[in-house]
Symmetry: D2
Subunit: 179 residues, 4 copies
C-alpha cells in the first residue's frame, strides 16, 4: 500500500519534545497550512495538522523550530486510538514526519543554511554507522549554535495523546515507536 504526505506550513506553537521511558525522543507540533483557495465568505482558511517526529530529527525540530517557523514535512498519515478519561475511545489522525525541512531562510532562529532533519529513512545507515541515523548531510551534531531556551519535559510516561498534553501523563510507551 502507499501512504505519503508532504506539507509546508508554519508551527502554531513551539514544538513539544518528550522522551519515552527507554529514552527515545519524540517531538510533536502542529503545522498551520494555509489553503490555496478561499471559502464562500471569501477568506482564506488554514488546516492545522498535527505532526509527530521521532529520534534525532525530533531533537532537531525542538532545537531549531519554534512558533511561526516555516517548515516542510515529508511523512505518512497515521491513525491511532486511545481511551480517554471518560473511557471513550478516541480516534486520532496525524502525520508521522519522516523528515522535517527547515525553510526559514538564513536569518531565523539559528541555522545558517536551512537544515534538513531527515528521519527514519536514513541512507547512510546502510554503511553501518549506527547511532546517528537521521543526521543526513547536515552538521547539526557538531555545531548546534545558540539553541532555543527549551522547557522540554522528560516524563517517564508520557501522554497517550501527545497533542493534548493536559498534564496527566499516560501510557505512551516504546510500543508506540513506529519501528
Amino acid at each position: 500500500m502507499m501512504n505519503r504526505v508532504v506539507l509546508v506550513g508554519r508551527l502554531t506553537k513551539d514544538p513539544d519534545l518528550r522522551y519515552t521511558p527507554s529514552g527515545v525522543a519524540v517531538a510533536t507540533f502542529t503545522l498551520a497550512v494555509n489553503r490555496a483557495f478561499t471559502n464562500q465568505q471569501g477568506d482564506r482558511e488554514a488546516d492545522f495538522i498535527n505532526c509527530v517526529v521521532w529520534r534525532r530529527p525530533a531533537e532537531n525540530v525542538a532545537n531549531f523550530l519554534k512558533k511561526g517557523s516555516l517548515a516542510g514535512v515529508d511523512g505518512r498519515v497515521q491513525t491511532r486510538s486511545y481511551d480517554n478519561q471518560e473511557g471513550k475511545r478516541v480516534y486520532v489522525t496525524e502525520v508521522n514526519a519522516e523528515s522535517v525541512q527547515f525553510l526559514e531562510p538564513k536569518n531565523a532562529t539559528s541555522s545558517q543554511s536551512g537544515g534538513n532533519y531527515s528521519g527514519n529513512q536514513g541512507n547512510q545507515d546502510y554503511r553501518g554507522n549506527q547511532g546517528n541515523y537521521g543526521n543526513q548531510g547536515n552538521n547539526f551534531g557538531q555545531n548546534q549554535p545558540q539553541e532555543k531556551n527549551q522547557n522540554n519535559q522528560n516524563y517517564s510516561r508520557v501522554d497517550k495523546d501527545p497533542f493534548s498534553n493536559d498534564g496527566q501523563p499516560i501510557d505512551i510507551s516504546d510500543d508506540d515507536l513506529p519501528f
Copy 2:
C-alpha cells in the same frame, strides 16, 4: 503553503454518498492502508484514513467502489472541528480526495479499464460549469455499467461529521463545501 497526500489502500466499508441541501454530492469512505513495516510484536498494522470526495467523483466512488476495493487517493489533508452532542469541540483530520483512482483490475465491480475520478482541484472553476467537472478523460457519464445497489441517502441536512453518521443528521450545509 503546500499540502499533498497520496494514498493507496482498501475501503473498509461501502462508501457513503450524501447530498448537501443544494444538491452537491459528497462521498465519504475510509481507506485501510497497510503499513510497510511491522510493529514490535512483529505484526503488520494498518492506518484507517477517513476520506471525503465531492461532486461527480463522489458519485463515481459511490457507484464503483465498495468494501474491499483497492483505491488510490490524491488529495489534501484537511482539518475541521464541530461541537458534538455534549457541547464539546471535536477536531477532525481527514483527507479531501481531489481524485480517486480505481485500482481493482478488469474483473471487479464493473469498470473495464480502471477509472479515474478526478475531483475538485480547480476550485474556483466549479461555479458555472456544472455537469462535467471532474470528469477528466474517463467516460463514466456515458457508460455506467451494472451499478452497485446503493442505499445512498438524500438528507436535507447531513451529519456534521460524515464519518459518524449515527442517524441524527446535523448541520453540514453548503458552507462545508471546500470551494
Copy 3:
C-alpha cells in the same frame, strides 16, 4: 493511474516566460533541490529538475521568482519527445507544475505574504473561464508590486524544448498544451 510530485528548491536561473501562438503563457525554470544525504565523497549533491508551468501561474512565476528564489512545486512528472536538429528522437522528463509556491519570506523580490500560484489542475475547466483560472485566493491580479525587469520573449513559435532555448525557435504549438 497516479502521478504526483512535490518539490522544494531554488531556481537555478530566472524563469523563462513565453507564449504559444494562441497567446497562452508558459514558464519554464529549473529547481535545484539539494539532496538530504551526501555521496561517497562526502559532499551534498543536488538534483536539477526542469519544471513547466502554464497560464496565469506561469506569469506569476515570471513576475515573482528569480534566480535563487526558494519555491515549492506541486505537479506531475511528464514525458515528451521531439526530434532534434540531427533528426534524432530526444526524450524529455520534466515536472508539470500545477501550482507553484513562493517560499521566499517577507523580504525578497516583492510579495508580502508568500503567494500561491495555482495552476492547471482542473484541466477541462479552462476552456471558457479564461481570465482568472489559477488565481486561487491570492491577490496577485490586483497588486503586483515592483515587478522584476523581465526580458520575456513573445515568439510566434517557440522552441520545442523550452529548456534548451538555443535561439532557433521551433515547433511548440498549442498542441503542447497539457489540456
Copy 4:
C-alpha cells in the same frame, strides 16, 4: 529541500536487473502512467517514467514484476548526466524508487498478498539488522515462489545509462549508488 514522487502505472517491459562491480543490485524499469485527461485530439496519453531501484527491492522488482504489471512507486526525482559515445553531455531525469508496491491483485505473477518492496528508508535497520534492509514486513526473503525466468545480467561494469542498455556497458560504478 524536499523531493517526493508517487506514481502508479504499468511496466512497459520486464524490469532490468544488474549488479554493480561490488555486487549491489540495481533494477530499472519504465512505468507507463496514463494521464487523467485527454489531449486536444481527445485521446488519453501516458507518461513513460524511468525508474531505478537499488538493493533488495531491486531484486524483488525483478522477481515479481513484469511487463504490464501494475505497480506503485514512492521515491524521489533524480537527475544525472553522462557523456555519450559522441562525447556529448546527456542529461537524465528519472525517479529513484525508495519503495515499490506491487498492485497486481491476488492472481498475477506470483505473490499472494501484494508485496511491498520497500527501499532505502528501512525502519528495522535501526535495530542493527544489517543485511536485509528494504525487506519491510513482507516475507519475500522466505518464500519467493515460482520466480520469473530471468535473464538478468551480471556486468562487472554496467551501462552508465541503465535505460539505454544497448550492449556496450559503460561506467556505472558504485559511485552511482545513492548512498
